[in-house]
Amino acid sequence: MQHINDIEVLGKKATRDGFGAGLLEVGRNNSEVVALCADLIGSLKMNAFIDEFPDRFYQVGIAEANMMGIAAGLATGGKIPYTGTFANFSTGRVYDQLRQSIAYSHKNVKVCASHAGLTLGEDGATHQILEDIGLMKMLPGFTVINPCDYNQTKAATIAIADYQGPVYLRFGRPGWPIFIPENQPFVIGKALKLAEGTDVTICATGHMVWQSIEAAKQLELEGISVELLNIHTIKPLDNEAILASVAKTGCLVSAEEHQKLGGLGGSIASLLGSHDPKPIELVGVNDTFGESGKPTDLLDKFGLGVKDVISAVRQVISRK
């Protein structure tokens, strides 16, 4: 098992580019895959799929509710539809359609959502949804996935085609470090241990995995040994991996680009509370809206910076 300092940076690309590449590959491998988009083809990086499979793509226009219903219909007929739009319009805007036509109706729809969270940047709070993980994990039957880099997003995009059931796949806009090996298999619901450690467990998802790697490296210099779990699947949560790690380290920090209320941290706190009460600190947005700015500046301002992960670790260790 690797040490935190063994994690190599392999390049830099946006997670949404990973989605685009994954969609093209899964389109080639599985003829049942079809795609829909609500006037955001370029933003979702769907061009390559559309160029190769024009007959398996539907431009829906700015009509997300209709897109979700059509996807439910395509799934009813036997297809595997992937919908593409921003995370805000993939969830909050269409919650009732997701609930009735997809979740309650058991439809095999893959809701693929880009530009999630603060790192959308300059467009500001109208588009920076920070509530989507909570909304989606509450829907019975939905699987919720938030991959952490280009390679993992690509692998997840491909893997969800073979899973029967509705999936929410959340990714983002900015270029971001790549550190998951290209050939790393994506297993839905299985936490990925990125570093072995003894003093604290960090459970991170999405862009916050990179922030946690940076934090862990600095903490290592202070002699604090971090066990880093990449929780790419928020639901179903890998209870076993989390409990095993906390049994060893005795405390936990969760990190997500999302509200503290209702996100990954809440799921883990609930798990620990009922199975193994240990100190936990949540890194997330504290019941507020985002704003315009550069992605990393926003992460720093709203409590999602590397420094915030570090201070949460110090705090949680002090409570052991």
Binding site: V60, N66, G69, L74, A75, K79, Q97, Q100, S101, S105
Partner: protein, 283 residues
């Protein structure tokens, strides 16, 4: 050639089922269900090429989708009477641990139901998706969807209305139950629907009209609609019905949209509806 007399008998029995189901559940939506008994009968007993052994994907079959899920009594009775499940199960309507939920759902595995509906405005989009899947599979069968008229106040309907002509979804027949009533009163008092034929036409649909309580007209119009499929246009049939059709005190009013008749009212209603095919047994 359709046996109109036989179809009318079936529709009358379905109306009896509706009254009995809603009465025994002490809740449900008799008005729209009674109004739609004729179109359901025409579809399931004459028009649809369907298989009651039921496959979810409906490949090689005509498929029907119900968007205004509150008329579940007419849907359930029709499905049972056409062989999807035993008519005895109609006695479990709206009961705990049952498959005949207040609004239709796939969640309990009831044969014949392919999508949950109840929250309005969603069924047309779903039907369009199914029609697209048929096109991808080279399946030349037809997708039918029924919506209410009050339901046309939902924005998603018009998103779907714009999509279908643009993408030339021409294996789809939308039927609107145009009874002019909704929960709070006549459409024209709640929110006017305006010139519906002109609206659908302006959106690019082939628009037809029929009397949804005249079996002969239903069969002729839907048959004609089918002959117009495959011409790059979706088809919308605006179907005039009378809410509560078949029970005199329930007709021409929104009062029975979502209200169950008591035992005495049920007796009067049933006296106006001949038992033609045998009632489902009392539990």
């Amino acid at each position: 050639m359709a046996d109109i007399a036989e179809l009318k008998k079936t529709a009358t029995q379905i109306r009896r089922d509706i009254i009995r189901m809603v009465n025994s559940a002490s809740s449900g939506h008799p008005g729209g269900s009674l109004g739609c008994a004729d179109i359901f009968t025409a579809l399931y007993f004459e028009i649809l090429d369907h298989d009651p052994s039921f496959n979810m994907d409906g490949k090689g079959e005509d498929m029907f989708f119900l968007s205004n899920g509150h008329v579940s009594p007419v849907f359930y009775s029709t499905l049972a009477r056409s062989g999807y499940f035993d008519i005895a199960e109609l006695a479990t309507f709206r009961e705990i641990n049952g498959r005949l939920q207040g609004h239709p759902t796939t969640h309990e595995g009831l044969p014949g139901v392919r999508i949950a509906s109840g929250s309005l405005g969603q069924g047309l989009s779903v039907a369009i998706g199914v029609a697209l899947s048929k096109r991808l599979y080279g399946d030349d069968k037809t997708v039918f969807v029924l919506t209410g008229d009050g339901e046309l106040q939902e924005g998603q309907i018009w998103e779907a209305a714009m999509f279908a002509p643009h993408h030339k979804v021409d294996n789809l027949i939308l039927i609107v139950d145009w009874n002019g009533q909704q929960i709070d009163g006549p459409n024209d008092e709640v929110i006017s629907l305006g010139d519906l034929p002109a609206k659908w036409k302006a959106f690019g649909w082939e628009v037809m009209q029929m009397d949804g309580n005249n079996m002969q007209d239903i069969i002729e119009t839907v048959t004609q609609a089918k002959s117009k499929l495959g011409n790059n246009k979706p088809i919308c049939i605006l179907m005039k019905t009378v809410m509560g059709q078949g029970v005199d005190f329930m007709m021409h009013t929104h009062a029975w949209h979502g209200k169950a008749p008591n035992d005495e009212q049920t007796e009067i209603a049933l006296s106006q509806l001949e038992e033609t095919l045998g009632d489902y047994p009392n539990p």
